[in-house]
Symmetry: C2
Subunit: 119 residues, 2 copies
């Protein structure tokens, strides 16, 4: 982790959760133990490199646990930590908030469409 030093805890969480992947990965991991290749199958559009990077980030943030097993080919399993599990409902709440405010956004869009029209 680089410099996760900011005064505000919110800045710090957002530093971890920002981007396409963190919440998605948390979502797939919520289903249970996953391996690297499982997660790639779950989300085919993430690159090999990004998956490794994002998993590290989540691990450093204490959201994901990594378990390495001896043997070849090497087997590695990923799981949410207890903190990670506690985070899930909070992310859910954001999703629900977004869904609930859908109608408000629809109105906004309608208004701007009307404003755009000049025939």
């Amino acid at each position: 982790m680089k410099d996760l030093v900011s005064r505000c805890p919110i800045e710090e969480v957002m530093q971890v959760l920002s981007g396409r992947w963190p919440t998605l990965l948390i979502y797939y991991l919520k289903e249970g133990t996953k391996r690297f290749s499982d997660l790639r199958r779950d989300n085919p559009t993430i690159s090999h490199k990004m998956l490794a990077l994002e998993l590290r980030k989540l691990e450093d943030a204490g959201i994901v646990q990594r378990a390495e097993f001896e043997g070849y080919p090497l087997r590695v399993e990923y799981d949410l930590t207890p903190s990670g599990h506690a985070l899930v409902p909070l992310i859910d709440a954001l999703g629900e908030w977004w869904a609930a405010t859908d109608s408000a956004r629809a109105e906004l869009a309608d208004r701007s469409e009307m404003a755009d029209r000049h025939d």
Copy 2:
């Protein structure tokens, strides 16, 4: 808004809230009506371009309201919408979660320091 078309509401919220500024701006706007220059003073490190861009994004997302007043120099006021206000406690919860999991991260850091040490 470009293509905020994804199957999952969580992906969509994160698209709006990702990055340094959205949550910060929401935080300052929570204090009440702010003007462009107020927000720049609140957060001196944001560039005027980014501030304008981010405010638009939040406006399109229905989180922020923009009110333009005639006259020169032009005056513009920004406020949270009702949806925006509803979002605040959810963001707070993330911050609290992060603060609460601080000790867990501290332990992780300790362990990795021990692992790094090879004297």
